[in-house]
């Protein structure tokens, strides 16, 4: 690559570009920082730090509130009496109980059952 073959004869255009870059470097010297550079920097750092502190505090408050609310809800739900219709038996048991209360099955259904049975 032409850029890195330093020992080879240079294309005049390449040499001109290098000359321009060198002159640009000379035309843009490192500027002197202003006298208030450090005070301004510390001011910005402090500003950002206080903002970060505020944000952290707000986050902590919100997280604390969320935890407290969760605990409160947990306690309330745990202490609540189960409703009257609370199911203590399984689905099959409830079905069986209903079946016995309703009396015998439809005779047609019984006939089909008998046909299927060997």
């Amino acid at each position: 690559m032409a850029t890195f073959e330093r020992g080879q004869p240079r294309d005049p255009l390449e040499a001109e570009l290098d000359r321009l870059f060198a002159a640009y470097r000379e035309a843009c010297p490192d500027p002197e920082p202003s006298l208030d550079f450090m005070p301004r920097l510390w001011e910005r750092i402090e500003g950002q730090r206080s903002w970060t502190r505020e944000w952290r505090r707000l986050t902590e408050v919100l997280v604390g509130a969320a935890v407290a609310l969760s605990l409160l809800l947990g306690v309330v739900l745990a202490r609540r009496e189960p409703p009257a219709s609370f199911y203590t038996s399984t689905y099959v048991e409830v079905l069986a109980a209903n079946y016995s209360q309703e009396g015998p099955l439809d005779p047609e259904v019984l006939a089909i059952d008998q046909e299927i049975a060997p």
Binding site: T3, L13, L17, A23, R25, P31, P33, L41, I45
Partner: protein
């Protein structure tokens, strides 16, 4: 390194005096790099402040004191890039247009030798910035760091965390584009001279 590793270590540990010393040691060099990267002297200090602000809040992420300089350069490149992107979004007058205004003002005021010298420098800056405008902002920064700041490929490798070959390819392509623009500019200048 412009400072001892010990100073970087102390700054990392939250020593404000050490951080101040660190900034004082590097600020001039970093401001110079920013000036050549963004091409707008009036905004150099603001971008410089941003670099050191980011440095302060990211020092704890520094793996070791040895990589401090590449780290600082990476922050510089990122801050300069963010600045240029903001400028592009705002749709402000491009550098070349601004320089034109400055040149007009300077033309009116030019009289003394110092002013003429300043005008020559300004025109040179404008020429190089116009040439660099032919490549993307990322490539332009890479080219500035290599060709103008004089950073080695090894240093660039650490800053960009990209392998040397990939950097060489990018640099070569960027340089070819700038060379093409230079050839076109020289051709246009020669034609203008011929017709005059």
């Amino acid at each position: 390194m412009l400072v001892e590793f010990e100073l970087v270590k102390r700054a990392r540990e939250g020593d404000h005096t050490a951080f101040t010393q660190l900034v004082q040691a590097y600020r001039k060099r970093i401001l110079g790099t920013i000036a050549r990267l963004i091409g707008r002297p009036e905004d150099v200090e603001d971008v410089g402040q941003e670099v050191f602000l980011r440095l302060y809040f990211s020092l704890d992420q520094l793996r070791s004191e040895e990589v401090f300089e590449p780290w600082l350069y990476r922050l510089t490149v990122n801050a300069a890039y963010d600045y240029l992107r903001r400028q592009r979004r705002r749709g402000e007058a491009r550098m070349a247009d601004l320089s034109e205004q400055h040149v007009m003002l300077a033309d009116a005021a030019a009289g003394s030798r110092a002013q003429q010298e300043e005008q020559r420098r300004r025109q040179l800056r404008e020429t190089v910035q116009t040439l660099l405008a032919n490549v993307s902002e990322q490539d332009r920064m890479l080219l500035v760091l290599k060709e103008i700041e004089g950073l080695s490929l090894k240093e660039l490798e650490k800053i960009y965390r990209v392998n040397e070959n990939a950097l060489k390819v990018r640099l070569f392509r960027a340089r070819q584009r700038v060379l093409k623009a230079l050839a076109a500019a020289q051709g246009a200048a020669a034609r203008a001279k011929g017709s005059a």
